[in-house]
Each structure stands twice: as structure tokens, then as C-alpha cells.
């Protein structure tokens, strides 16, 4: 059955977001392999569709808090590819002038408020953002993404409890990719599913196949609508898989071959494309999106590589709201004489 017009446009929207993530990630890894970039990189390969469908259910002015493995969330949320690439390359034209880097992307224009490198620390901050929206009478929702391993740290617990007691407009999304670094889910986590923890917070929870775009979109849309209506937080456990190990260079020997193969067979990226083809959305239309994204990406890569780094005086800026002087830092400026 052919999709309705709104469905169709949503599918294409999700496809576009997914492809943008997919191509960016692919290109990053190629450049890392080729030595054109040298950064710690946490590939979202396998989690692209999850993020694309999730963010399709969210407004651009909704807040997002995510993690080091966040490029899929950031692109899906709408950060322009150029700005993100430039930040990954550390350039002055990046979202954060190169001062934050990939692990610390902030882009308030698209609602990306915090990217944290500290496991679990985003959740308490998401509460604060959501509380502020509530106090201001805005109907903004805060989406907070984190991994399965993050659910074992204290901040997760404190935040979910507070969000629930205070009925904050937050949607907590656990992207359960079954591994935390090299530790298998069950070796670090004492419950069968993360959703099992929700009852301990009086929270509505749903566990879905995050790689099923419809399931992901529906769950997100429901949770977002609930939060927007003032009915409090939800927890979504979105099951997924990461194909590229924890970080670039991790060969993933700890993943059983059969497990890997089984997930590869249902890789969401080609599957979603095929699904759209099956739904009579033509190769031509998808191809046009692909081409546009590749062009956008080429432009972004060039922009990132050719942009300058910020000047060293940036060290003195943005530490406080005033520039740092020697009287603040205790520095002793002195002349350096070269030695033969």
C-alpha cells in the first residue's frame, strides 16, 4: 500500500536525516583511515535510523542533550553539516570555535545544548533545561540521549527520580546498543531490560526496536506529546547495535561473530532505503537526496579542512565572561630568550 502524503513526507524526512548521518560517518572514518583527520571518534554506524526517526518527532526548538557518541543525534537535530564538520576538525568556524571538539558539541540554534563526555552526566542537566521550559511556560521538550552502560551510573538514577517527582518535560532515550565500551550488557547491568528500571521511578517506559523507524518515531512522538502536554517524563529504550566498535580503531573482538552477522543482516540503513523503495518511493527521488547530501558533504569537508584554526588568544576567552588577565590566572608574563 502506498503511504499517505504526510507519511510519505515523513519517510523522506527520516531518510534524509539518516543519509546525512550515514554519509558523514562514512566520510569521517575514511578520513581518519587516510590520516586527514586524527581525532577520537565514536561512530554511530548502526544507530543512524534510530536518531533520524527520533528527531523527526521533535521540534527544532526542543532541547537535546547527548553524548560523545552524538554525531547522529546532532545531525538529525539539524546542526548544519558544515558547522559540525568544522568543529570536528577543530576549526574556528566550527560550532564551538574548535574549543569543545567532537565530544562537546553545543549549538543552541538547533537546540543542541550539551554534549557530554562524562557517562550519565547529561541526564541531570536535561532536567534543568526541562524545568526552565516549564517555569517559563514554554511547551519545549528536552530529549536526552545516552547509552545502555550509562544506566548503571548514579546520575542516571538521581535524574530519573527527580524528573518523575517533578513531572518534568523530558524524554529520556536510552540507545541500547548492547555494549558499553567492551562490556556486554549483561556483564554490567543487573536487569534484563532498561525499561525494568522505570517502575523504580514511577516512569512510563517503552522498549522498542530503535532500528524500526516507525516504532521509534511513534514512541518518540507519543513521549514528546506527553511531555509537551505537561504530563511528565518518559523513558524509551531503543534497541540497536553499533557496527564499528566503541571508538575508531576498536576491532570489536569481544563481539561474537554470529551476533555481529545477525545484526549486519538487518543493517537499518540499507533496510530503510529498501523499505522506501518497496513503498513505491522511487529510486530517482532517493537518488536525488543522496546526491544532494553528498554535495553538501563535499562542501562541508572542504570547508572544514580549509577553515583556519582559532588564534591562541582564544585560551583567554570564554573561561569567564571577561577575558582572563594575569591577575586572574596568576601568570607571570616574561620575555623568552631563545637559547642557541
Amino acid at each position: 500500500m502506498a503511504p499517505s502524503a504526510p507519511e510519505r513526507s515523513r519517510y523522506l524526512d527520516i531518510y534524509t536525516r539518516m543519509t546525512r548521518i550515514h554519509r558523514s560517518d562514512e566520510r569521517f572514518r575514511r578520513m581518519l583511515l587516510g590520516g586527514q583527520l586524527a581525532i577520537a571518534y565514536y561512530s554511530p554506524r548502526g544507530q543512524e535510523l534510530l536518531s533520524a526517526a527520533l528527531m523527526a518527532a521533535v521540534r527544532q526548538d526542543d532541547y537535546l542533550v547527548t553524548t560523545y557518541r552524538g554525531i547522529h543525534d546532532q545531525l538529525a537535530k539539524g546542526i548544519p553539516v558544515r558547522d559540525l564538520w568544522a568543529e570536528f576538525a577543530g576549526k574556528a568556524t566550527g560550532t564551538c570555535k574548535g574549543k569543545g571538539g567532537p565530544m562537546h558539541i553545543t549549538h543552541p540554534e538547533t537546540g543542541v545544548m550539551v554534549t557530554t563526555g562524562i557517562v550519565g552526566s547529561g541526564l541531570p542537566i536535561a532536567n534543568g533545561l526541562a524545568w526552565a521550559s516549564m517555569l517559563k511556560g514554554e511547551d519545549r521538550v528536552t530529549v536526552c540521549c545516552f547509552g545502555d552502560g550509562a544506566t548503571n551510573i548514579g546520575a542516571f538514577h538521581e535524574a530519573l527520580n527527580m524528573a518523575s517527582v517533578w513531572k518534568l518535560p523530558v524524554v529520556f532515550v536510552c540507545q541500547n546498543n548492547r555494549y558499553a565500551e567492551k562490556t556486554k550488557f549483561a556483564d554490567g547491568t543487573a536487569c534484563a531490560t532498561i525499561s525494568d528500571r522505570a517502575i523504580g521511578y514511577g516512569l512510563e517506559a517503552i522498549r522498542i526496536d530503535g532500528n524500526d523507524a516507525d516504532a521509534m518515531y511513534d514512541a518518540a512522538a507519543r513521549a514528546v506529546a506527553k511531555a509537551r502536554a505537561g504530563d511528565g517524563p518518559s523513558l524509551i529504550e531503543a534497541m540497536t547495535f553499533r557496527f564499528m566498535g566503541h571508538s575508531f580503531g576498536d576491532p570489536g573482538e569481544y563481539i561474537p561473530k554470529e551476533e555481529y552477522a545477525a545484526f549486519l543482516a538487518i543493517d537499518p540503513v540499507p533496510a530503510y532505503r529498501q523499505k522506501l523503495l518497496d513503498l513505491q518511493i522511487g529510486e530517482q527521488e532517493l537518488g536525488a537526496i543522496d546526491a544532494q547530501i553528498l554535495a553538501e558533504l563535499e562542501d562541508a569537508v572542504t570547508y572544514a579542512l580549509e577553515s583556519p584554526y582559532a588564534g591562541e588568544d582564544e585560551i583567554l576567552k570564554d573561561v569567564l565572561d571577561v577575558e582572563i588577565t594575569p591577575a586572574i590566572s596568576g601568570e607571570t608574563p616574561f620575555q623568552i630568550e631563545e637559547v642557541a
Binding site: Y63, P124, S133, G154, E314, V319, D321
Partner: protein, 335 residues
């Protein structure tokens, strides 16, 4: 109302009232100000020390909230609310409990402005109660300001009297940087002249709490009062200039250097233990920047290198004393 010539006695307030008034005025002035922490709302008594008494009744329980016992969630909520443009004032009941929330303060509150390339601003204030003297023992009495001072991006503030407490706390709340405001557990009942409405004390500026010409004693918080008592006792034999730092970090280097440049002698006094404390940084800078102009080494007085003991005589032995301050001044005068 005064009818004319007779001078009225100045109105006095306690530090407790000063803190309470500062919170009240801040909330009245700016609806972005929100106050939260464990048991801070009126149904829970307005804070264990009553610093927020009356506020939830006056401003509503949406703006003044008691929280679960969850310091990471508390500081995290402050970070998030500040990022979204609010002016959160969160209470960490005792400074030792900040040890469970250092991540939010140090990795997030302090760094988000920098890491975002200036896009984010985190105008939060954390109020926390610290200090020994009440027999609260090892886990409830620490002064940890040196840790926070070592974190670029944080301001660390404390007051030695009620008027300063009010003026500094208001300045913290109005400041665009994350500020930690430390209240001494033994200082809440201290009385002082009530400041006029609208009173502010600027951050980053020290006060000359007493003028003198023989030696400069730099201190902050409750200890300033001990230093002033010693200075008075030594007068006129030794003329002690007392600097009340008010902002511990980043501190007012110029005020210290000017004073020590004049007196030629410097002693730093604080309640925290001496080793790796705030006094070390001040001493290190003074000896460097006033090289050749000092008449004595820079001295320090702090509490003993130990956990804070419970038994009253041991707690007293742990704490720095007026006698030690006096001895240190005399030693530096004799150097």
C-alpha cells in the same frame, strides 16, 4: 521614623537574615531566580538552617523547591536551568556533600562556556554551608574552597559579616558565571549592621577590613573576625592591616600586592588545612611579585593536617586559633 537630631542605633541583622534577605530580594527582582535544595521549601522548614524560610510561601513552590537527596541531580538541574536562561540558586546543605557533585560543577558548570566557544552561559549559584566548630565530625566540617579555586571558570565567594553576605550573595546570583557561595556554619548567628536596600558587594574585590602599616593579614570568611580580634589585641604594639578577600577565586591580587607593598609583611589565615590550601597560592604570588620588597617570609595559618575530629578538645586543637594567628604575626614581625 527619626524625628530629627537624635541618632538612631543602626539596624542589625544576622548572617542568617542576610542570606535570607538576599534570596528574597533576588527572587523579587528577577523572576528567573529559582531556589532549590534539600528541605529548602517551607513545608520542610525553609532549609535545615532556615536560610530560605518564607520563600516558597511568598514565591510559590514552582520557584522554591525541596529536592530529593541527590546532589548530582541538584547541581545538574542548576546547570541545565542556567543554560536555559534561569538564575538557579541551589543549596548543597554541607560542603562535604559537594564531593558527590563535583562532576557537574567541574566538568560541566565551569567548562560549558569555554567548551561551547562562548555560546553557553551558566549563571548558577551554589550556596553551601561549611566549617568546623559544632562537633559535627569528619564528614560534615570540611572547607574545600581550594579545590574549587583550582577550577578555571568558577568563582568562589565567602563573607565575613552579614552585610557582605547579603551583598556578595546578590552579586553571585546576578553574575553570569557559576559562583560558589560558602556560608560558615558558625557564622549564621553573627550580627552586623544591616546594609541599605539595593546593597551589592562586587565580586573580585577585596576589602580593607582594617588599616595598618606593619603587616598585612589576608583572610576570608569567618576567620576574618578572628584576625580582626587579634589585630585589635595587638594594637598599638603592632599595626595590622587586614584584607578580607571576599572573593577567594579569582582573588583581588592587586589589593593584596598594594597592601603588602606598603607593609612589607604578609600572613594568610584560613580555616582549611594549610597544605595545598588557598594560602599557598597567595603566598606563592606575593613572594614572586613583591620580590625584594618583603621584610619577612609570607606566613600562613590554617587548621591541622587531619580530618576534623569529633571530641570538643580535639576539634579545638584541629582548628587554627587566635593564639596561632597572633604568634605568626609576632614571628613575622621579628623576622
Amino acid at each position: 521614623m527619626s524625628t530629627g537630631t537624635t541618632t538612631e542605633a543602626p539596624k542589625m541583622i544576622s548572617t542568617l537574615q542576610a542570606v535570607n534577605q538576599a534570596l528574597d530580594e533576588a527572587m523579587a527582582n528577577d523572576e528567573r531566580v529559582i531556589v532549590f535544595g534539600e528541605d529548602v521549601a517551607d513545608p520542610q522548614g525553609g532549609g535545615v538552617f532556615k536560610t530560605s524560610k518564607g520563600l516558597s510561601t511568598k514565591y510559590g513552590d514552582h520557584r522554591v523547591r525541596s529536592t530529593p537527596i541527590a546532589e548530582q541531580a541538584i547541581v545538574g538541574a542548576a546547570v541545565g536551568a542556567a543554560l536555559a536562561g534561569m538564575r538557579p540558586v541551589a543549596e548543597i546543605m554541607l560542603m562535604n556533600f559537594i564531593t558527590v557533585a563535583m562532576d557537574q560543577l567541574v566538568n560541566h558548570a565551569a567548562k560549558l562556556r569555554f567548551m561551547s566557544g562562548g555560546q553557553s552561559s551558566v549563571p548558577l549559584t551554589i550556596r553551601t554551608i561549611a566549617g568546623a566548630g559544632r562537633g559535627n565530625g569528619g564528614q560534615h566540617s570540611d572547607m574545600l574552597e581550594a579545590w574549587l579555586a583550582h577550577v578555571p571558570g568558577l568563582k568562589v565567594v565567602t563573607a565575613s559579616n552579614p552585610a557582605d553576605a547579603k551583598g556578595l550573595l546578590l552579586s553571585c546570583i546576578e553574575d553570569d558565571n557559576p559562583c560558589i557561595f560558602i556560608e560558615h556554619i558558625m557564622g549564621f548567628q553573627q550580627k552586623g549592621v544591616a546594609p541599605p536596600p539595593g546593597h551589592r558587594v562586587p565580586l573580585g574585590k577585596a576589602a580593607i577590613a582594617r588599616e595598618g602599616h606593619d603587616i598585612t593579614v589576608v583572610s576570608y570568611g569567618k576567620a576574618v573576625n578572628d584576625v580582626l580580634a587579634v589585630a585589635a589585641a595587638l594594637d598599638p604594639a603592632i599595626s595590622v592591616e587586614v584584607i578580607d578577600l571576599r572573593t577567594i577565586a579569582p582573588f583581588d591580587e592587586q589589593a593584596i600586592l598594594e597592601s603588602v607593598g606598603k607593609t612589607g609583611r604578609c600572613l594568610i589565615v584560613h580555616e582549611a588545612i594549610k597544605a595545598f590550601g588557598v594560602g599557598a597560592e597567595i603566598a606563592a604570588r606575593v613572594q614572586e611579585k613583591l620580590w625584594g620588597r618583603l621584610k619577612a617570609p609570607v606566613g600562613r595559618v590554617g587548621s591541622k593536617y587531619a580530618a576534623v575530629p569529633f571530641a570538643p578538645p580535639l576539634e579545638k586543637a584541629f582548628l587554627y586559633s587566635q593564639l596561632e594567628i597572633q604568634g605568626a604575626i609576632q614571628r613575622l614581625m621579628a623576622a
